[in-house]
């Protein structure tokens, strides 16, 4: 059922208040430091303007059609949903039959928490953020929105800091190579606001493979997800992080995701964006230490009237750092995407190597992909390059495949799969790769979840 929406002319803020912050903190029985942190963020939130299309980073993202009447109220606890309500494919272990760690939330409610004894014995912590606030206060206080995503970035970051509703805390102690992958899920069932947080901290010389998923069925009223991802990669640590998004077509996502990588650390970050009505995601890697390495890869496939705006930044803050970005998108119907990417090299970050490439394939002449690469270089001995290309799916290729007896839909699927292969190959879990291919197939067939 379509509902008639009021067309708002202004960029409006959700109907939330300081009282909501106090009530939330009270309900969760939070320590003083956290309540104060939330309240300080709320004050900041109130002092900041809502982003508008007058702001450079938001120039192409008009979210005025969001219905905050539904999307702007905090999700009521749990909503009665259970772990089993999450699609089975998402609940499968990542490797064979052995579940490493799995943390699943429905709306803001923790519905499943499982950590394999092997990981626990290694001292790896995978827990929900509320628990971590109680049990690992020092670690949380050190990292929670203090040096990756800070509340002062913009109004959405401040709102998240003030009102984050649920989250995951992952900690790998010094020298530990996690033997099993960890996995978290944010699933929503309500036309409301959720503010989920992901904080992953890898100490020196550690290793972890991680998958996070955000998904929901499509509802008939708007919802919002105001999220933050913080990835802290210590010296010589190695994190492989995969983030998949398959929200329903009622969801508006505004998120800030940022990684900090210390000397000789490595981060391999892959994003898959499939769902949502409108997605505005900032993704940023800071290569803080000498010799650090960061790779960002994305595949996105908006269809219908979906809009995705992915804003990336590769910050070379130290010498001998390497970044590599590959974002590939396929767009159908009247979908729109924006990729805006910046490579920043600070003075003194000599011998750095930064690369970014964005490629888009359009399957309809009503689809549109904007590609805006950027370089800002303040060191003189660096190598930074970018490439971008957008074009229609090639009819000559389709004809060639059809000339071998392959019907058009299958031919298109082959071409799209092939287009995504360079990104799919970077996903370290075969089962997740297969699921991504299944998403792509569903998109091509025009089925919306």
């Amino acid at each position: 059922m379509a509902t008639r929406r009021r067309v708002a002319r202004e960029f409006q803020a959700p109907p939330l208040s300081r009282a909501d912050v106090l009530a939330l903190s009270e309900r969760l029985n939070e320590p003083d430091w956290l309540r104060e942190q939330r309240l300080a963020a709320w004050d900041l939130y109130e002092s900041l303007p809502m982003p508008t299309t007058q702001d450079e980073a938001w120039r192409r993202t008009d979210y005025r059609h969001i219905d905050w009447e539904s999307a702007g109220h905090l999700s009521a606890n749990g909503g009665g949903a259970r772990f089993e309500d999450i699609p089975a494919a998402s609940r499968q272990p990542l490797l064979g039959d052995e579940q490493g760690a799995m943390l699943a939330f429905v709306n803001d409610h923790l519905v499943h928490h499982e950590v394999a004894p092997g990981l626990r014995e290694q001292g790896v912590i995978v827990t929900d953020l509320h628990t971590a606030v109680r049990e690992h206060a020092d670690l949380v206080r050190t990292h929670l929105m203090t040096h990756a995503v800070t509340p002062d970035i913009d109004k959405f970051a401040a709102l998240h800091a003030a009102l984050w509703t649920h989250g995951v805390f992952v900690y790998v102690p010094r020298g530990v190579q996690a033997t099993l992958p960890a996995h978290s899920i944010f699933y929503t069932t309500q036309p409301a606001a959720t503010l989920g947080h992901l904080l992953i901290v890898l100490e020196e010389g550690t290793r972890l493979d991680y998958l996070h998923e955000s998904l929901s069925p499509t509802l008939n009223a708007d919802a919002s997800f105001i999220g933050v991802v913080e990835l802290i990669v210590g010296p010589g640590a190695n994190l492989r992080f995969v983030n998949l998004q398959d929200w329903g077509h009622h969801m508006f996502e505004f998120s800030h995701q940022r990684a900090r990588v210390a000397a000789d650390g490595q981060l391999d970050w892959v994003t898959g964006q499939m769902g949502g009505r409108l997605v505005k995601a900032f993704m940023e890697i800071d290569l803080d230490g000498k010799g650090s390495w960061g790779r960002m890869s994305a595949l996105y496939f908006p269809s219908g009237r979906q809009f995705m705006d992915l804003d990336t930044q590769q910050n070379h803050n130290a010498a001998y750092t390497t970044s590599d970005l590959l974002f590939k998108g396929v767009l159908k119907d009247e979908a729109r995407s924006v990729w805006q990417g910046m490579i920043k090299v600070l003075p003194g970050a000599q011998k750095t190597d930064g690369f970014q490439a964005n490629r888009n394939m359009l399957m309809s002449d009503k689809a549109r992909a904007d590609s805006i690469p950027g370089l800002e270089i303040q060191a003189n001995d660096v190598r930074c390059t970018h490439a971008s290309a957008t074009g229609q799916i090639e009819e000559e290729v389709i004809f060639y495949l059809m000339a071998r007896g392959i019907p058009r839909p299958e031919a298109e699927k082959l071409v799209v799969d092939g287009f995504f292969v360079p990104v799919l190959d970077r996903i370290p879990f075969e089962s997740v790769r297969d699921r991504m291919m299944a998403y792509v197939e569903r998109k091509l067939l025009g089925e919306v979840n």
């Binding site: 071998r404 019907p407 292969v421």
Partner: protein, 258 residues
């Protein structure tokens, strides 16, 4: 009785411009035909039209394949009926391996015959692919490469022949398969075609030069000029053409018209 490809009074336009002006030709299973002609005579237009390329518009005439007029059929249907086009310029399909592509092509055939078909079992497919590669003296690693992506001219043409071997068409059209090949590559490709020759395969070799016909020996030779077949004959016709060029034909045409 074998299948035949019968082209009857075929007229084709590209962007409103008539290119083929009444082509008549019959190729039967088991026969090798050569179609020669100068640049711009309409040879490649014929090849693309037979395969149903959307840019080529049939304005009159028929293409009868195995007793069915295929003019209105989609390209993939024509292929599944047993028609094959070896492309003059095979296109690259990045990210799709030769093996994966061929498995899809074979499965499309199986599925068309039986909608319940689950696809060719992987071991069976691998065995078939290796067998055909061996027949064509190809390195097994070829199957793992992305289709035509970064292939040399010779590799592209060999990949076309491999596809032909895997799909076992009844009638194959080879559009300037010799173009861009040096003599060694040409020999390899021609030998591949010769290995596939037999009573179940009819071939129409479209070429500019006599050269490939030294390796793939046709039984029938046709000459196309200005969108029509103006001369048909035996293998001698190709040799005659090699020696005398197209001038005599042009003169003959002019006299005939007068």
């Amino acid at each position: 009785m074998g299948a035949a490809l019968e082209i009857r009074n075929l007229h084709v336009s590209v962007e409103g411009q008539p290119i083929l002006k009444g082509v008549n030709l019959v190729v039967k299973q088991g026969e090798i035909h050569a179609l020669m002609g100068p640049n711009g005579s309409g040879k490649s237009t014929l090849a693309n039209t037979l395969m149903g390329h959307p840019a080529y518009e049939v304005t009159a005439g028929q293409i009868i394949f195995d007793g069915v007029d295929i003019v209105e059929l989609e390209t993939d249907e024509r292929s599944r009926m047993g028609l094959f086009l070896a492309f003059q310029y095979p296109v690259a399909v990045p990210g799709v391996t030769v093996a994966n592509f061929l498995r899809n092509a074979i499965n499309a055939r199986r599925k068309a015959q039986n909608p319940e078909d689950k696809g060719i079992p992987i071991p069976e497919f691998r065995k078939l692919l290796l067998q055909k590669m061996e027949l064509l003296q190809m390195d097994p690693s070829f199957g793992g490469r992305y289709l035509n992506d970064g292939f040399s001219g010779g590799e592209k043409k060999r990949a076309e022949i491999l596809q032909m071997a895997m799909l076992e068409p009844r009638i194959a059209i080879m559009d300037e398969t010799d173009s861009g090949l040096d003599i060694d590559a040409l020999r390899v490709v021609a030998e591949g075609v010769n290995r596939l020759r037999g009573p179940n395969l009819g071939v129409l070799v479209i070429t500019h030069y006599q050269r490939i016909l030294n390796y793939i020996k046709p039984e029938f030779v046709h000459i196309m000029m200005d969108g029509q077949i103006v001369e048909s004959g035996g293998p001698d016709l190709a040799l005659h053409l090699e020696e005398h060029g197209y001038v005599w034909l042009r003169e003959k045409q002019a006299n005939g018209d007068a």
